[in-house]
């Protein structure tokens, strides 16, 4: 059986990618096929990659404070194009923005200090892998 495919993406201009890379590697070691987009992706580029790769989940990392605009745009384009893939958001996200992101339809939001196994568990649950 092929491994479920996951996109890890950096949205916007921010270059801080330590978290994205650590998560990409942890998920790869946990048995997923991980595609890391690299930095400076636009919402439409990420969705394009997700469609092409037939991804089961999109993990987005943002530390620049522009998560509301960029994730908002991402969710909007996904709705317009009828793409239905769970989205996880990680980064420097103030608590009140987390609630707003969840209202937009984001599956979960993780801030700094979240244990990797917690993220691996939720990813497994969301993509239906055992």
């Amino acid at each position: 059986m092929p491994k479920p495919k996951i996109i890890i993406a950096k949205l916007g201009l921010d270059g801080h990618d330590r978290g994205a890379k650590v998560i990409a590697r942890a998920l790869a070691e946990a048995g997923f096929e991980v595609v890391y987009t690299g930095i400076r992706q636009t919402p439409s580029q990420v969705i394009e990659t997700a469609i092409q790769e037939d991804a089961k989940l999109i993990g987005v990392s943002i530390l620049s404070g522009s998560h509301m605009e960029l994730v908002g745009e991402l969710m909007k384009i996904m709705r317009e194009r009828g793409v239905n893939i769970p989205v996880l958001v990680g980064g420097i996200i103030p608590p009140e923005d987390r609630d707003a992101l969840l209202k937009m339809g984001v599956a979960a939001v993780y801030g700094p200090g979240t244990p990797l196994r917690e993220i691996i568990d939720i990813v497994k649950k969301l993509v239906g892998a055992s």
Binding site: G12, L13, K21, T37, R40
Partner: protein, 556 residues
């Protein structure tokens, strides 16, 4: 029997008769090692220290500068209190600067937003969501002038955290000085201008590595002749550490970068090392592991002095002194129990001061959640002030010098660092190493190993893997005023409409011609374009056209 033999005999006896029997009853509660993986012994004695004081330590202000670069250090002059700050529009940031100065800050440090750092005007499609977010938006000269409104730029030193657009920002600062009737030769400050570090860790680059190296080193050549007090580069290890590097990797890649820049300036401009080396400055991180950090700073000074003298034949003492700024580690801050960060940053700041830093930024406790508020940044500044004026750690120079443990740690960091520098030499220097992704891979590996150690509890982080609390932090966070973005866009459009069109066209044409060739220094042409009111997006647009944009492989 000599003294050393006596100590050795007594030491063995102590281990046999006291230490081991005790450990049998009460075993050590964890494994003790440096964060870069070397075992730490329970006790250090004169047996662990090289017995050549004059050549390895010497005196402050004297080669190899292990104990400090100035003879009197903080007894004559404290380090510069320089909180990194910027957000929204130049008006907002100017207010924050005046607040910080009123609270006792002694130097400024400008945080630019991502569009400014990547050479995109605020009305560019990709720029729009990020205008004013992680720093201030400065796309043209008028904004730079507002940023320093009613601040005396002859007196205050300013550090600009800018790399891929360092030339444009320096050109704006020079233009503002000229408009105020100030000779650029008196300007004192720093532009970060360290592009290798961007390729390795921070990721805010525009052009491919070779063109970027030309851009960076052309600035160094220009300022060494025209702005004698200016520091045209701050060679930075900070971002390596934040990306996950160990202390040794931080130091090794920084020094390997310094070697690369020095080689480039010497080869491209046929300059003597003593003609520009005094302008080189450095930037490191301080994490919470106090002694490891102190030893790192001491080893850094000694290694740099040796490299400049032995490898490059520097003669002037000024060319061998490593001047450095320290920022406490942002990655070490926790979103959990954020007030605990005040304790962490205090220890980190102490490491910087015990390590002999020339300039210091202490992070605010809320920065794992957002940019700092006025309250949190003031507290960060107070941390520096308590260390400076109350703690007494500045009373004597290099107070930890001579500690058996610190000297051993300084030696071991020096040795381990040299191994990596030698390896980079074998790869052909840092530009080549970056092109094949060596430092990027090494840092990604360390970041992953670090995270695993945290998860396994081998590294303790209060609030994260020890003494956790389930309650959410309840603190007031800084918000960027959304009006500032529109203000920035309006201003840049006005500039484009109202400038002298002919002068602007001429300057842009000349810039393109120079960038297309190889022999001329590109900086004076960038300066002329900025004087003709070209925007940052236009100047870097020309260079993007001619030099291309870099697309790196994605490594994780």
């Amino acid at each position: 029997m000599g003294n050393t033999e006596k100590i050795k005999e007594k030491y063995d006896e102590w281990v046999r008769e006291f230490l081991l029997p005790t450990l049998k009853k009460i075993p050590e509660w964890r494994k003790f090692a440096t964060l870069f993986g070397i075992d730490i012994k329970p006790l250090y004695t004169p047996l662990d220290v090289r017995d050549d004081y004059l050549s390895t330590l010497g005196f402050p202000g004297e080669y190899p500068f292990t104990r400090g670069i100035y003879p009197s250090m903080y007894r004559s002059r404290l380090w510069t209190f320089r909180e990194y700050s910027g957000f929204g529009s130049p008006e907002d940031t100017n207010r924050r600067y005046k607040f910080l100065i009123s609270q006792g800050q002694t130097g400024l440090s400008v945080a630019f937003d991502l569009p400014t750092q990547l050479g995109l005007d605020p009305d560019h499609e990709l720029a729009y969501p990020e205008v004013g977010k992680v720093g201030v938006s400065i796309p043209e000269v008028a904004s730079m002038s507002i940023l320093f409104d009613n601040i005396d730029i002859r007196k205050i030193t300013t550090s600009f955290t800018i790399n891929a657009t360092a030339a444009e920002i320096l050109a704006m600062y020079i233009t503002v000085a000229e408009s105020r009737g100030i000779d650029k030769a008196v300007l004192d400050g720093t532009i970060q201008n360290d592009i290798l570090k961007e390729f390795i860790a921070r990721n805010l680059y525009i052009y491919p590595p070779l063109h970027s190296m030309r851009y960076t080193t052309d600035i160094i050549a220009y300022t060494s002749k025209n702005l004698p007090k200016w520091h045209p580069i701050s060679i930075s290890g900070y971002h390596f550490r934040e990306a996950g590097a160990t202390a040794v990797q931080e130091l090794a890649f920084t020094l390997a970068d310094a070697i690369e820049y020095t080689n480039w300036v010497i080869n491209r401009w046929k300059m003597n090392v003593d003609d520009f080396a005094s302008g080189l400055s450095f930037f490191f991180a301080a994490t919470t592991n106090l002694f490891e950090e102190v030893a790192k700073f001491r080893a850094a000074r000694r290694l740099y002095a040796r490299i400049m003298r032995e490898r490059f034949g520097a003669n002037k003492s000024e060319s061998m002194k490593m001047k450095f700024h320290v920022q406490t580690s942002g990655a070490a801050l926790t979103a959990q129990q954020p007030e605990v960060n005040i304790i962490r940053t205090t220890i980190q700041a102490l490491a910087a001061v015990l390590g002999g830093a020339q300039s210091l930024h202490v992070n605010a406790y809320d920065e794992a959640l957002a940019l700092p508020t006025e309250k949190s940044v003031k507290l960060a500044l107070r941390v520096q002030q308590v260390i400076a004026y109350e703690s007494g750690v500045i009373d004597s120079i290099d107070p930890l010098g001579g500690s058996y443990y610190i000297e051993w740690l300084t030696d071991i960091i020096e040795e381990e660092t040299m191994k990596i520098i030698d390896y980079v030499d074998r790869l052909g220097g840092m530009t080549k190493a970056v092109e094949i992704g060596y430092p990027q891979r090494a840092i990604a590996e360390s970041a992953y190993q670090y995270q695993r150690m945290v998860e396994e509890g081998k590294i303790s982080i209060i609030g994260v893997n020890m003494f956790r609390e389930e309650r959410e932090p309840n603190i007031e966070l800084h918000r960027v005023d959304p009006v500032s973005r529109e203000r920035s866009i309006r201003r840049v459009r006005e500039v484009r409409e109202n400038r002298d069109r002919e002068a602007w066209e001429r300057a842009i044409r000349e810039l393109r011609r120079t960038a297309d060739g190889e022999n001329e220094n590109v900086f004076p042409y960038i300066l002329n374009a900025i004087r003709a009111r070209a925007t940052i997006g236009e100047v870097s647009g020309v260079l993007r056209d001619v030099w291309g944009e870099y697309r790196p492989p994605s490594i994780y």
